[in-house]
Amino acid sequence: MKTLQPVLLVLSVLVGPWVSAHLNAQVSYDRVLGAADEPENWLTYNGTYSSQRYSGLRQITPANVDNLELKWMLQNQVFGAWQSNPIVVDGIMYVTERPNDVMAVDAATGRVFWLYRHTPSEDARVCCGANNRGVAVLDDKVFMGTLDAHLIALDATNGQPLWNVEVGDENLGYSITMAPLVVKDKVIVGVGGGEFGIRGFVVAYDADTGEEAWRFYTIPGPGEPGHDTWSGDDWEHGGAPVWITGSYDPELNLTYWGVGNPGPDWNADQRPGDNLYSDAVVALDADTGELKWYFQFTPNDGYDYDSVQVPVLADMDWNGVPSKLMLWANRNGYFYVLDRVTGEFLSGTPFVKVNWSSGLDKNGRPIPTPQPPGSPTWPGNQGGTNWYPPSYSPRTGLFYVSAWENYATIYEKEESQYQPGRMFLGGGFTVLTTVPGAPTIGIGRTSPINNWTDEVGRGAVLALDPHTGKAKWKFEQFDVSDSGMLTTASDLLFTGGREGYFHALDARTGELLWRASLGAQIVMAPITFMMNGEQYVSVISGHTLVTFGLRD
């Protein structure tokens, strides 16, 4: 870092206006709270506390989207899927790259002001790639969780670390890949490690000092309600990680978090009981971390159906009554509507083929129909959808999500012995193929050639009507998609996919309005922002962050 400083000094002279603009900008809590009122910025992981990924910007429209052109690109220096979601504050973009770099970037040119590099401990363990999904900002600080389960606060002006706390023990498989959530004076994160037998939790720190404010374990300890949904000492290493950023309802003062799979992943017989709060959403008091309610999507899960999807908060009439709702397309293949005040189950409908369950009872509890050994289970191990952020447009009233259709897995279970810091999986799985041994869908694209084809699963953007749970329209892709969604006040929907196409669709009809081939898989959601009166859309494809704007 030290050697960089003369360069930074020169840079700050050259780009003086932006730096001074930035210095004046403090991202107060009130600004984060009112993020929807300043759509020129993208202030949280999902844009606003309600996580709708809906922007009020409307300069780019269905009529002129054809005029989008490349404005700038930023090349990642590190190989591997780039899943980071940028934050944009007053012309400065904060984005992370593997494994734990943070960059402050001029959002107009893509040139970098500063770079902070944290090298995670060699003992850090992650199941599925050295991912980091972005930062949070509050006041003059930027916050990043690390692969070795630290939380680091940086000075937003120069990237210097201000505090660094250990959130979990990396030797036991704890890690952080999610972007933190800031609420009031606290910064809140969850931990990954569901494949390593961790005991998951959500933890809040004082944003100024890094002092721990509260901690909520996603597996209840002895004497706590729900502990009896575990047997023996299974709770000590039962997983239930929290690896995707939650949402916040300021009126209710509740934060909402999706909880991941129980461990070992595939051998549910080994951990009898519902295994609370794995595969559930938990509603936690933002000040104390106290549990207000929970809803479990997949009790005693044997399919790795992490419920780490983004809790999308929407207000609309439900049966004629104005309601505070939570919309949730779950990895288990069902689309849920919950009352986010009470956690009450309102509806649940399959949005892809489901055969692990024959339906939901009146309380939303699935009726299990486990398939015989060697038979395929729909949806497959990566689920009907996964962590990719969906979008809800209050203008169209539709919920948009990347779905994996016709994708199935054959599960195998086996007894696993927990060993600290080691993989704790309880078996394995095989993706169903038309030909034995044929290439199949994995966690990401590893080749520019699609050698698995659409027959083992295809991607689709679904526009779900929350009232019926049915798709109003569907946009199919040949390959599956891990891309999130972005909608705008001009009724555009932006999304990508593994094929590397960046799509602009009509959010009302699903009609394809514009596309660009960016050359490599898109595994994050687009964002939009405005600078100097110009609206921009940014998306990451492969190792490149690409920013589009309208032709001058």
Partner: protein, 273 residues
């Protein structure tokens, strides 16, 4: 969206022509399978599980001291993975086991025929008692069949010789197990990788393009056509587009010994290092 709809719509009329094609292909298949039904079941082409089981006991008693339980105790040889210092047919293996290797590095073993067959079966099954042990014959005869009676070289290319129509097999021995090769020969439709499927496209000017799929996405498809040209087609520009699940290749009519020879030859194809 529009592309997918049009793809489905165009598939419907083409089904008719496809089914005509399939019917004639099926008729052809019927005659050939009748001729070859005596040899076409997998069982004739592989060793029995009893062979493998017996072989495992002989192996542990006679071979594992040097080759180790997992088969990789000798430098340059991995019996479990079928990696030898030179390509070996089953008969070659029997001979090596019986006579040993010169200068006494490996002694010859005096075994009964069933014990000998058992060890070969155990090796061919990848040391897996429930595995499939495919018979591997003589690679020289296999090459003659490949280029002659088997008619493989009318479509497949090897080491720079032959057409580009079907996948190039120059490295097939390094990337396929004997069991997978056998399955491809006996029942191509169950082994053809979906990406390699034959495609048929009709352009707006009425030109029909047939070829082998190389890559595909939502809007485009890349293929090598019957003229051996690399083509990239935009699906929305096509009047018809279909991907056939029926491979161009038909089940082999060769005898089980000939199939074993052919597999022996294919296993020698290791590609360029």
């Amino acid at each position: 969206m529009r592309v997918m709809v049009s793809k489905i719509r165009h598939r419907i009329p083409s089904f008719i022509s496809l089914s005509v094609f399939l019917l004639s292909a099926f008729a052809l298949l019927l005659t050939t399978t009748e001729q070859s039904s005596a040899q076409s079941s997998d069982a004739d082409h592989q060793y029995t599980s009893e062979d493998i089981e017996a072989g495992s006991r002989v192996y542990v008693a006679e071979c594992a001291l040097c080759h180790q339980r997992n088969g990789n105790g000798v430098d340059g040889v991995d019996l479990r993975l079928g990696q030898f210092r030179r390509p070996l047919s089953d008969n070659d293996l029997r001979e090596v086991i019986t006579t040993g290797i010169s200068n006494g590095r490996m002694p010859g073993l005096d075994l009964r025929q069933d014990e000998l067959d058992g060890i070969v079966a155990y090796i061919r099954a990848g040391f897996d008692p429930s595995g499939v042990a495919v018979k591997v014959g003589d690679s020289g005869r296999g090459q003659m069949l490949f280029e002659g009676e088997g008619q493989c070289s009318t479509c497949h290319r090897v080491n720079g010789r032959g057409p580009y129509l079907a996948p190039d097999l120059s490295d097939i021995g390094a990337i396929r197990t004997p069991a997978a090769l056998q399955r491809t020969l006996l029942e191509p439709s169950s082994a053809l990788l979906p990406i390699n499927r034959p495609v048929r496209a009709v352009t707006q000017d009425g030109q029909t393009i047939r070829g082998r799929r190389l890559n595909e996405d939502t809007y485009t498809v890349q293929l090598i056509d019957s003229e051996e040209r690399l083509l990239s087609l935009i699906k929305s520009d096509l009047v018809e587009y279909e991907v056939s699940e029926t491979p161009t290749m038909e089940p082999t009519t060769l005898s089980s010994d000939e199939v074993a020879d052919l597999i022996g030859y294919l296993l020698t194809l290791g590609g360029l290092r």
